[in-house]
């Protein structure tokens, strides 16, 4: 599991790798706050992610809602890994952001 934040002039990219779970929840929250705080467009790259647990999903969900209310553009990869989408679906997260 690793989380990285890549800041550039135009957009902030948060990159997810491996299994994103409660062990990295606090770190993810800090990264999301940092990424959203700059006011630049935020992109979440989940291509390398294997799975997301409930803590990760609720963080992403909250980030998306915050971005919407503060008018920051937040985007997701067009194609999420199959394992992630399947797990999300089975967990009933039908309205996943993006």
């Amino acid at each position: 599991m690793s989380l990285t934040l890549q800041e550039s002039e135009t957009a902030n990219v948060v990159r997810f790798e491996g299994a994103v779970d409660i062990s990295s929840a606090a770190e993810l929250k800090d990264l999301l706050l940092q990424a959203l705080g700059s006011g630049r467009e935020v992109h979440l790259s989940l291509a390398e992610a294997q799975s997301l647990d409930v803590t990760a999903v609720q963080l992403l969900w909250a980030a998306e809602r915050d971005a919407r209310t503060s008018g920051v553009a937040l985007s997701l990869d067009d194609h999420l890994p199959e394992s992630v989408t399947a797990a999300l679906k089975s967990a009933g997260f039908n309205e996943f952001p993006g």
Binding site: I22, A26, D53, Q58, L59
Partner: protein, 712 residues
Amino acid sequence: MLQSISSNADQFKQSFREEAREILVDLEAALLELNENSGDQELVGRVFRALHTIKGSGSMFGFEKLAAFTHNLETAFDGVRSGRVPITCELIDLTLHSLDLIRTMLEQSAEAASAADEQACAEILAKVRRLAALPEQQASGGQANTETPAPTESKGEQREWRIRFAPGPDMMRDGTNPLLLLNELRQLGALSAKASMAAVPPLTELDPERCYVSWEMALVTTAGADAIRDVFIFVEDHCELAIEPAPEAAGPANQADKTARALEEHRTPSGGRRTYDKPDSASSLRVPAAKLDQFVDLVGELVTVQARLSAIAAQRDDPEISEVGEEIERLTSSLRENSMNIRMLPIRGTFEKFRRLVHDLARDLGKNVELTIDGADTELDKTVIERLSDPLMHLIRNSMDHGIEPPEQRTAGGKRATATIHLSARHSGASVLIGVSDDGAGIDAARVRSKAIEKGIVAPDAELTEQETFALIFQPGFSTAKQVTDVSGRGVGMDVVRQSVESLRGTIDVASKPGQGTSVTLRLPLTLAIIDGLLVAVGDDYFVLPLANTLECIELTREDVEKANGKHIANVRGTIVPYICLREHFNIRTPRPALEQIMVVETEAGRYGFVVDQVLGDCQTVIKNLGRFYRHVQVVSGATILGNGSVALILDPERLVQDAMRLDRRTGRGSVPRATHGNACASKSHIKSSPANAAQKCAGADLHAGACQSQT
């Protein structure tokens, strides 16, 4: 973060162990109750739920073997619950035996199990399988699957259920993944789930490790509400759960009743607020015992430092320092009381544990015995409770083997065939009285005497009172048993009792009537760490007498001494009170002052006085051990450090009186007469002091050395 999670995993394992141990105790109690009351469906449910919790949590925390083993037991009890499997003594015994194996597995690291254990598991499972008439493959040893046994519930037709599941805030932190529960539900039937994110707060306010998501689910299954609830059984206390049949699929009347009841139980609170959002949700904490010991040690140190502060304040005569000193004294005193209270536990757990012992022994010995318990809520110090288990076990074993007669003999003697062993606990001042009594044959004093003579413990011509005779049973190597059995007869048990009770600074009383039974009472101090004492001085030496036993303090003048003609007795408002002069007893060679003080103390043997030079006042005393070298000096129960840094010995009035009387008998002085109202009960005896030993005789000479050796 990662590191903290992995250490968390160990913590979870540990807390699972602790929880499982508690569940096992409850399970054992439920099984024993079930043995007497086999029709009680509630008890069956309790057993089933306990097994299910152990299985579920076990597999979650990596105790796979334990989970697999428990799964089979659970399946058997599922059969009991549904009425397919009858409850028999054999099944109860097997299950009790299984609990022992589960305990062993619990203590081992997750996968380390010896071949012998595996064998034992397999044997038990084979028997359980036979009793529960389970098919072979379902209950096969270690590799059984640990999923909820869906097929056992497949009684009804397919039905749609609505399930609302809101995990508690700490569920994720506790290592439970709610998504796995959803997967477990999928094994019961077709599940469609919808997560509700309504409770997720803005990112800044979000606690990243808390679970805010709740689920609305629809499950189409043949399983009943019980089977669905069982999926959540080990998180049920930490979540909100509602299971109800879908409106269009409300089943037959009886099913509907059941569901209505279930719904009633789980009705969610109004306003959509979860119950655990209330601020008082955590009403108790689990704290490692070592931390508590450390805390009490620190409070002990604080008490000592506070005594120093008070001493300095008294010397300086500075009102400001005195004021602060008094304030700190008050606070320290309540801190001490509080810390002592934290260490107090009800004795229930220890008592309940013996139900199993009595059950097993009664079966092995072919006797009918029931255990009754009184005062299980009596609280005493954790350390005392821990060290009480062994002596109680030996006393019960002794009662069961020697005291209680076989049923035929009891009936022939006009007694009830079922014998009773009664455990009791109650407070008495600063002590707690623990009683073990039976309605058996009683102690045969003549037999005890002849056996003691035979073993050379007493001289053949020794004149012994009944009390002294009963005291002999606590001598090492003493046994009247004709045969050494598995249970007792080697003459070790009662000696263990005496030693354990002595090490707790307690005393033992034995009362026995032939044909009517024996009653053993242990008098133990409430705590071993700190006592309230009275500080007294003799010459340059300081001593502490426990305040709880001290009645009053009177003056002793030269004239009083002369009037008594060398006898050590004082006239206290018309009552004669014998006294012990500490100066003489401890051989302290300083001149005797003209005016002395007698501390009148209530002892088991009646009222006795202790003559000292000066009474300095009350003090909170942190008890320090004198160390192994002085363990035979029984008149001193420990030492304490005073405010000025000097050491005071804490005296044990009971033993001091005994010691003085024994010395008196030996020297034939008769200067310490027996208290008038002591030894009131003719059929009672006190066993406190071990046989005279050199160390005790030298107590006086060694006092100073003892003081220097005390551990600080």
